[in-house]
């Protein structure tokens, strides 16, 4: 609705922790690529950690509610719905928003805490993942994504990692698009990959966890890498040129994880891992430097040579 930007939709952009600290390209790519698609992402100033659902949720749910609520209130004050780019953040921010809207006792408890910083959760906004905005034609839709491509990623075989929190638990997810409610074998991200001109590839046990979530990475690194390694074996089998994700935490696990796997298990994959926003940026003609792809643990060069 904003006059100056000409954008049809405007959201408070919640960054979370990992994207700005490890993969700043995700942030840049999201803002620039989405703008071309009529979506303006306005920084959500003063936001904290979402907080991480596994780490906080398993220790004290009340802290999880209160911190997420604070982030929500910041957006309520901006009178804007939230857009975010991370599955972990989606679980925290979307789910807490949903719970507080529907449970008065919980809301009263949280507001008791928020009162100390002169805030009140009112339940006036909604929360969306940027991937959802891209897939849902009420905001963008696959066709518009396809139309925005100037540098099709033709010939690239790209595998998709959905990540757990975006689809699970099934009974707590309420996407408008029916296809997004498919928990066990979704294919909507493959549609988005195909829209960029690339070839999406199926691989064995696609819906397996990246290995990091739920505090596993922090608690038992080797075990967590074991899970990641299994996924990488399956990805190697189908000769994927790159893996794409919609969660910087999954991305960290697959990208930096490969270096750790090399150290600990002595296996090398060199599989480039890119957030979908980064892929979209490339397909819309952004340069690898603009996208900060040089900051990735695993070099994206071989993949870039194929598509640029």
């Amino acid at each position: 609705m904003s006059e100056e930007s000409g954008a049809k939709h405007k959201f408070a952009f919640y960054l979370g922790c990992i994207a700005p600290n490890r993969y700043p390209g995700c942030e840049a790519a999201s803002i620039k690529a989405m703008k071309k698609l009529g979506v303006e992402l306005v920084p959500l100033k003063g936001a904290s950690c979402c907080p991480a659902p596994g780490a906080f949720g398993s220790i004290d749910l009340n802290v999880w509610y209160a911190m997420a609520a604070r982030n929500l209130v910041l957006a309520e004050q901006m009178k804007m719905d939230i857009a975010l780019l991370c599955n972990g953040c989606y679980k925290s921010i979307w789910e807490v928003n949903h719970k507080l809207k529907h449970n008065k006792d919980l809301r009263d408890g949280v507001n008791e805490v928020l009162k100390e910083i002169d805030m009140e959760f009112k339940g006036t906004i909604n929360v969306y993942h940027t991937a959802e905005l891209l897939y849902n034609e009420r905001f963008v839709g696959v066709d518009k994504v396809r139309d925005s491509v100037t540098n099709p990623l033709t010939g690239a075989r790209i595998a998709v990692h959905y990540g757990c929190h975006i689809v699970k638990p099934h009974k707590d997810r309420e996407f408008e698009k029916e296809a997004m409610l498919n928990t066990e074998h979704p294919t909507w991200m493959e549609e988005l990959v195909a829209a960029l001109g690339a070839t999406p590839v199926e691989y064995r046990n696609k819906m397996q966890c990246c290995g990091a979530g739920g505090g596993v990475r922090g608690y038992d690194l080797v075990h967590s890498l074991d899970i990641t390694n299994e996924k990488l074996i399956n990805l190697k089998e189908v000769k994927a040129d790159a893996l794409t994700d919609i969660c910087p935490f999954c991305q960290l696990q697959f990208d930096r994880g490969q270096i750790e796997i090399q150290e600990k298990f002595g296996v090398t994959y060199n599989l480039p891992v890119l957030h979908y926003a980064e892929l979209l940026g490339l397909a819309q003609g952004m340069s690898p430097q603009e996208l900060g792809l040089d900051l990735h643990g695993i070099s994206c060069e071989p993949f870039l040579q194929k598509v640029l």
Binding site: H170, K171, N182, T183, E184, H185, E202, R204, N205, M207, E237, V238
Partner: protein, 729 residues
């Protein structure tokens, strides 16, 4: 005509019966509150008999009403949650109460005797039983009231169990108070109750069975054997239902076709069964004894010999030769073979169909006319322009035997049905292992036609599933048929090992547990754990079954050649529409609701409509047949009685007050009202047999000219007053 005849009877009754004389003063008094035509016993001949034992006391009204209150403990169901003593004491203070007692089980023989004795000893005029629910025991206590010498409608129930003690189990004070209120309300009405006489109407000697699976067939055969004309309505082209798709049947392993086809032939031959396949119920009117059902005979495109003859084609009509099938250019997957074999647009879906008449699938027919030519000028069986036909039949009772269908198991995406070629459903397995199936009984992998040597069977596939995707209930026969499947592969494929992934093995029937042990001994492997997901090896198309072995407490990744999903079942497609036509309810999961889960499993809350087979809930064949025979027996009772009794809750017109506007006529949902000319005035008249006593007209009439028997305005007002004003002495 009918109304006049009834009037004559009424007069006769009035003059003949001595007690109506005593009723005279009362009639006057009641009229003061509201002119009550109800005091006139209006009875058909049968009801007259019923009214005969009524004693003089039975016509007393409020002024000298003497109500007895009988409080039931229902064991501890009621007594455990409220203070019966307090309820008893409070009841004594309610106006018009002449007697109060309580008993452990009021419905038992001694309990009923308490009521009868009290009525005699205390000259009671009405009975209030505070107990379970009228749904269960209203008929019981009506009979007890009648046996005590009162008109059976001088009974009122206070529901203090279902709507009180069961709900407020932990609130003793509250439930005691609520029970006292309920009794006050019941007494207020009881004091104003009047004698009523049920109306009997003669019935058709015909029944209808909807759905011709093994349940519907059995029910129809039983009814026919009892000499009752039975219309058997089947939406598919053939009778037989799911059972005709099965290979063998547990636990005896007899061939399904061999035990079913003779029955199918019997149905086709029976003189008393009028079979209508490719048909469905379109509209239903009327009530028990007089259902008017409109059947839609879907255009089949092919005439039976009878239909051809009616059109003047002597010696014509379909003889099942199949000449048409050969020339038809359209190829479609055959639903009977779960899509694993082709069929034409003109087809029979398997060789044993009854009736043996071809059918055109007009959705795929291209109307090329080749079949018409092939069928030839003698038979002239095919009519490509055939339209749906509507046939009206009158029946007395109806049995719904709508069966089930397989839950779309692809919804459980984690098992990859329709995504992985070698994951099949149990129904596909039945067809693949069946000698008359698409592979001639050779079980092969769909991906490469090879014989599988390791087969995983996933039990409870979509059943007992609380994720919201599957069904919460147990489908009840999948354990047993999976054991059967395990036996079949061991028998047919030497060296092949079946692995059954299960939660519990439910082998509860006669000789079932023994069958389970037998299959274990034969070498089937059992792994207790729910299958988390199935992963296909893209190269070999083998499948990895991922689960937990909960007995050995370890995760399992089992590679197999093929997976069979023992898919859950759900009510068949058209169940919801059909049940609504008959006013039958369903439970939350869509299965049709029986009148009582234990004591009336075949009945429904619509009088004259019964349930048979799986449409009431999952059942294997033995249970299905038992339920069908039960339903047939229940459905034949009203027919053998020759008449049915209608509850006398119909509306009555108080002609002096009726302005003849007729607004009520349009309001009545059952078309029971009409305007008639009477003594030079226009007044409303009720067709009692059609009136359901819903009260729509009674509540509406601006002149207060409609009197709802047993729910009269004074009665309802007295109930409200009793609640609001207390009504204690």
């Amino acid at each position: 005509m009918m109304a006049e005849k009834k009037k004559a009877t009424t007069k006769k009754t009035a003059s003949k019966k001595p007690d109506t004389k005593k009723a005279a003063p009362m009639k006057q008094e009641v009229k003061k509150q509201a002119p009550a035509p109800a005091a006139k016993p209006k009875a058909a001949p049968a009801a007259e008999k019923a009214a005969a034992p009524a004693k003089a006391v039975s016509t007393t009204q409020q002024g000298d009403a003497r109500v007895g209150v009988f409080i039931c403990h229902c064991g501890t169901n009621i007594a455990g949650s409220m203070d019966i003593e307090a309820v008893q004491e409070a009841s004594k203070r309610i106006p018009n109460v002449a007697f109060v007692d309580n008993y452990k089980y009021m419905c038992s023989m001694p309990g009923q005797t308490v009521i009868q004795k009290a009525v005699h000893d205390n000259k009671l005029t009405a009975v209030v039983v505070a107990a379970c629910t009228p749904r269960l025991h209203e008929p019981t206590f009506r009979t007890a009231t009648k046996d005590a010498g009162l008109n059976p409608f001088r009974f009122e129930m206070a529901n203090i169990r279902d709507q009180n003690s069961w709900v407020h189990m932990h609130d003793r004070v509250g439930s005691t108070e609520k029970a006292i209120d309920a009794i006050k309300i019941a007494v207020a009405k009881a004091a104003l109750l009047q004698d009523l006489h049920p109306k009997s109407v003669p019935v058709e000697k015909a029944a209808m069975v909807v759905g011709a699976g093994v349940a519907g067939m059995q029910a129809a055969l039983d009814l026919a054997a009892a000499g009752i004309k039975t219309y058997l309505i089947e939406k598919d082209m053939s009778i037989g239902g799911r059972m005709s798709q099965l290979d063998k049947t547990f636990p005896t392993l007899d061939c399904s076709q061999c035990i079913l086809t003779p029955k199918m032939v019997d149905v086709g031959r029976s003189e008393n069964i009028e079979l209508m396949t490719w048909s469905e119920v379109h509209e239903v009117e009327g009530y028990i004894g007089n259902f008017d059902v409109t059947i839609r005979k879907k255009a089949r495109g092919v005439m039976t010999p009878k239909e051809a003859e009616a059109k003047g084609i002597v010696g014509g009509g379909c003889n099942g030769c199949g000449d048409c099938d050969g020339v038809c250019p359209v190829i479609k997957p055959n639903e009977f073979e779960v899509g694993m074999k082709p069929r034409k647009a003109i087809y029979i879906n398997h060789p044993q169909v009854v009736p043996l008449i071809y059918t055109i699938d007009f959705d795929s027919c291209v109307k090329c006319g080749l079949c018409v030519t092939a069928c030839g000028p003698e038979k002239r069986a095919i009519d490509l322009e055939m339209k749906d036909e509507f046939v009206k039949v009158k029946v007395d009772t109806v049995i719904l035997a709508l069966g089930y269908e397989i839950f779309p198991i692809e919804k459980k995406e984690e098992w990859g049905y329709k995504r992985y070629e070698n994951v099949i459903s149990s129904l596909e397995f039945e067809r693949l292992i069946c000698a008359s199936g698409p592979t001639g009984g050779h079980l092969v992998r769909p991906s490469d036609g090879k014989t599988p040597m390791k087969i995983g069977f996933v039990l409870c596939a979509g059943s007992r599933d609380n994720t919201g995707t599957g069904k919460p209930y147990c489908s009840r026969f999948c354990c047993m048929y999976s054991l059967k499947h395990a036996h079949q592969v061991i028998e047919k494929i030497p060296g092949c090992i079946p692995y059954l992934f299960y939660m519990d093995i439910r082998s509860f029937g006669k000789m079932y547990e023994e069958f389970y042990y037998r299959i274990q001994d034969e070498g089937a492997k059992f792994i207790r754990g729910r299958v988390a997901n199935i992963i296909e090896d893209p190269k070999t198309k083998n499948l990895h079954v991922m689960t937990d072995d909960t007995l050995l407490d370890r995760p399992i990744d089992m590679e197999v050649d093929m997976v069979v999903l023992a898919a859950a079942i759900q009510p068949s497609d058209d169940t919801n529409r059909t049940r609504k036509l008959f006013g039958v309810s369903c439970s939350m999961d869509g299965w049709l609701l029986e009148a009582h889960p234990k004591l009336n499993p075949c009945g429904t809350t619509t009088a004259g409509v019964f349930l048979a087979g799986v449409c009431q809930g999952p059942k294997d064949i033995p249970d299905t047949v038992a339920s069908a025979e039960g339903a047939a027996s229940a459905a034949s009772i009203p027919i053998h009685m020759g008449e049915v009794e209608l509850e006398p809750y119909f509306a009555q017109c108080i002609e002096e007050k009726c302005a003849g506007w007729g607004m009520c006529v349009n309001l009545c949902p059952y078309s029971a009202l009409a305007l008639v000319e009477k003594d030079g005035r226009t007044v409303m008249q009720v067709t009692e047999a059609k009136c359901k006593g819903c009260g729509t007209c009674g509540g509406f009439c601006p002149g207060g000219a409609i009197w709802m028997q047993h729910f009269t305005t004074p009665q309802i007002c007295a109930q409200i007053d009793a609640f609001l004003l207390g009504g204690e002495q």
